[in-house]
């Protein structure tokens, strides 16, 4: 859609512009008469795993304070039945390395989002991912350097590792939908501004654990969905 818009703008045809405006009106802007819906609920989160056994190869030897990993959380998102996503400008997301942990431990983004990886610790980090969704290797970088930025163009899970601190684990969940929210530590979530209609609501715990629930959103209604 975005590509179509760009092509149209470059060519500058009025007819084309009219078609584009019509298309945008149909696809992205819901009719003003329909009120936004809300889904809220609780996701049963897994227990926090016990602290890992230290790897003797790289003992955790940090000059700064070692923070605890993020508590387990889930991402709840509405899977839409739209074949074309509306063109949106995504705000830049951040996956920091702070207290020798990825912060946040789990970052949900919409496809097309650029994520920056700022190092907030006093030591080098070397973040990489072998995930097929997005394979990259940032190499060693310090907090003084400009953080690397990566554009995530494919939906899926991206697992993050730091070669220097092998206890650090992070995940970026790249989603096809703008309607998502990470739960609070207690599992609560609230999704707002949802389009009415028949959808599937999913709760993503990890790669192996994804719950889903069909929802029929009515105009302005607030739905409560607990997982599982």
């Amino acid at each position: 859609m975005r590509e179509a818009a760009r092509t149209c703008l470059r060519e500058g045809g009025t007819g084309c512009l009219l078609i584009l405006v019509g298309a945008l009106t149909f696809a992205a802007a819901p009719p003003a008469s329909l009120a936004e819906s809300v889904i809220e609920g609780v996701v049963a989160l897994p227990e926090r795993p016990p602290p890992p056994v230290a790897n003797p190869r790289y003992p955790v030897n940090t000059s700064g304070a070692l923070g605890p990993p993020d508590p387990p959380t889930a991402v709840v998102f509405l899977e839409q039945n739209l074949s074309i996503s509306p063109a949106r400008v995504h705000p830049k997301a951040r996956m920091t390395q702070h207290h020798y942990q990825f912060a946040p431990g789990l970052l949900p983004i919409e496809k097309g989002t650029v994520v920056a990886f700022p190092n907030l610790d006093d030591e080098y980090h070397s973040v990489f991912s072998y995930s097929r969704t997005k394979r990259f290797d940032l190499g060693r970088y310090h907090k003084d350097e400009d953080p690397a930025e990566i554009l995530f163009e494919q939906a899926g899970v991206v697992k993050l590792f730091c070669e220097i601190h092998d206890h650090m684990r992070g995940q970026i969940l790249v989603l096809d939908t703008p309607h998502f929210q990470k739960t609070a530590a207690d599992g609560h979530y609230r999704l707002q501004d949802l389009p009415p209609g028949r959808h599937v609501l999913k709760a993503w715990i990890d790669e192996q654990t994804v719950w889903e629930h069909p929802v029929d959103l009515r105009d302005g209604a607030t739905l409560r969905v607990d997982f599982p």
């Binding site: 790897n55 190869r57 790289y58 072998y130 697992k159 092998d166």
Partner: protein
């Protein structure tokens, strides 16, 4: 019927006993010594095997320690964990080739580390992840289908507490040739997710184990085959038999004997730890038993030599001892035979003061005693009647006497006083001796006892000390023969005399009379007096008998009744009968 074994002579018995003792002692010494030698060598073999085991472990540790560390590093690498998590096989092998390039890259110059023959990743579900290229080794191996499942099973069976495992895997890199691989398994585990992701397996060809020092051959026995430059395949079969004999659970260690180059060798083996799925592996060492056997042979020769010598000495000694015993014994046997023949004067030589010497001395004393006794007996026979002498020798007489029914015979010479009146006393003795000798012989012939000689008178008793049944008959027959003997003597001798005989039968007291120091066997009683008186009344060459005698012999003799006699010492007249002749036979 029992068949008695032939009697063994003393010499043979002694020799057999000596042989038995010498053989027994030599055999026991041989047995004890051989056992001691075998135990000593067994200890030596054990000691050597322990040293060999230590050496083997140390060499293996030196060989593989660096690779083990490398594998642990690789398994702990966060990049490997990330790639394993992603299940990206190409990436996995790429990381491994990078980390293990020293052992995997054939193009790098050889350094301290040996070159691996293969390298594989095994997924947690038991799949051997296919390597992308030939650098992983053995990718073209025809027997991959055989060993990759073993690899997967072994990788899967690493105990949960261990990060690494080790085993031996026989591989056939090409047709016909079998090569033994030392395989190191390292578990890949994500410490953060606390999840096992899989394992790394890396194999190295086993360095050729050959003949070691001190006639020692060592090697490995894996899955029924022996891997060694020095041990023949037959030893593998021997160990295999032992392991099968041990039953279900293979033994941790063991020993047997196998032939190597025609020499018996002690085979010692111990189980090597290995993962499940791999064939059982044993470290095997062979020790030549030539030295042990040579020592045993030497000992056997020495002991048998000494045994033979001892046997010869024993033979000589037994000959000498038996001769020292059998010589005197044979002499004693000969001397005993002499004594049996009545030669009491025989004596044997006393050569030693031992038991045989004492026996010879005793024999001599016995022979002397027998000679003396015989001498006494001879004298006794001369001075008393021989029947009485026999009874005296038996000691059956006691003081006192017994009432016996006997016939008493008196015989004297008619006109003796007048006949000898003008004779020299010595001539009288000669004449009497001739007369008495002849008559005594007759008495003895008729089983009579010469009681005494009183001058020309002979007193004989029939029926005491022993009765022969018809004593009266014996007495009368004796009297008749005495008269005949005197008659014959009268024809041959210078002296012609007549004799008269009186016989009386009946109860008398017979026994030894006298003192304890001096005894005389005789008969006393009225019948004795009667016989004496009848003798006095008998005419020349006449036999007078009393009524009792005649009655007892009424069927045997023809007697003429004489007028009753009035005899001195008898209150009443006594009937007397002159014996005329004998009837045909006594009843």
């Amino acid at each position: 019927m029992t068949v008695r074994p032939p009697a063994l002579n003393f010499r043979l018995k002694l020799f057999l006993a000596m042989m038995l003792v010498v053989t027994g002692v030599a055999g026991a010494a041989l047995l004890v010594t051989q056992r001691a030698v075998a135990a000593t060598y067994s200890e030596i073999f054990e000691e050597r095997f322990r040293a060999e085991v230590d050496l083997f472990s140390a060499a293996q540790e030196a060989r593989l320690a660096a690779v083990r560390d490398k594998c642990l590093e690789l398994a702990g690498s966060v990049r490997l964990i990330a790639a394993m998590d992603e299940n990206d096989v190409a990436l996995l092998y790429k990381i491994a080739f990078d980390e293990l390039r020293e052992v995997l890259n054939p193009e790098l110059p050889r350094r301290a580390l040996r070159r691996a023959s293969f390298f594989r990743f095994v997924a947690n579900d038991g799949r051997v992840l296919p390597p992308p290229d030939g650098r992983a080794g053995l990718t073209e191996s025809a027997s991959r289908a055989e060993w990759e499942p073993m690899l997967a099973a072994a990788a899967h069976s690493i105990p949960g507490s261990d990060r690494q495992a080790f085993g031996y895997l026989p591989l056939r890199p090409d047709q016909g040739r079998t090569e033994l691989e030392e395989v190191i398994f390292t578990r890949v585990r994500d410490p953060v997710a606390q999840r096992t992701l899989g394992a790394i397996a890396i194999g190295f060809p086993l360095p050729a184990a050959g003949a070691g020092p001190r006639s020692l051959a060592s090697g490995l026995w894996v899955g029924g085959a022996i891997y060694s430059g020095a041990i023949p395949p037959g030893v593998g079969a021997a160990i295999g038999r032992q392991i099968r004999v041990a039953g279900g659970r293979p033994p941790d260690s063991g020993r047997s004997v196998a032939d190597l180059d025609g020499l018996p060798h002690r085979v010692m083996f111990r189980a090597l730890p290995g993962p499940a799925g791999f064939p059982p592996a044993y470290q095997v060492c062979l020790y030549s038993m030539a030295e042990l056997l040579e020592t045993e042979r030497g000992l056997r020769r020495t002991i048998l030599g000494f045994g033979g010598l001892a046997l010869a000495v024993a033979l000589a000694l037994s000959l000498r001892i038996s001769r020292g015993l059998s010589g005197p014994i044979q002499e004693l046997v000969a001397a005993t035979a002499e004594i049996q023949r009545g030669n009491f004067a025989v004596q044997v030589a006393v050569r030693a003061r031992d038991e045989v010497g004492r026996l010879a001395g005793s024999f001599n004393a016995m022979a002397a005693g027998l000679a003396l006794k015989e001498k006494y007996r001879s004298v006794l026979d001369l001075v008393t009647d021989r029947q009485v002498a026999a009874e005296l020798m038996n000691g059956s007489f006691a003081l006192g006497g017994e009432v016996r029914d006997v016939s008493v015979l008196f015989c004297d010479i008619r006109g003796f006083t007048a006949f000898t009146e003008k004779m020299d006393p010595a001539e009288v003795v000669t004449f009497l001796n001739e007369h008495m000798t002849a008559l005594t012989a007759v008495v003895y012939e008729h089983r009579g006892v010469v009681d005494k000689f009183v001058g020309d008178l002979v007193m004989a008793v029939f029926g005491a000390p022993k009765s022969y049944g018809n004593d009266a008959y014996d007495a009368v027959r004796c009297a008749q023969r005495m008269i005949e003997a005197r008659g014959r003597l009268n024809t041959s001798s210078r002296y012609q005399v007549s004799i008269g005989i009186g016989i009386a039968s009946g109860a008398v007291v017979a026994g030894c009379t006298g003192s304890k120091q001096r005894l005389n066997y005789t008969v006393l009683g009225e019948r004795v007096n009667l016989a004496s008186r009848l003798c006095g009344h008998a005419g020349a060459m006449e036999i007078l008998v009393d009524e009792t005698t005649r009655e007892r012999l009424s069927s045997s003799i023809v007697a003429e009744t004489l007028p009753e006699l009035t005899l001195k010492g008898f209150s009443r007249s006594v009937a007397a009968f002159r014996v005329a002749d004998f009837r045909s036979s006594p009843t």
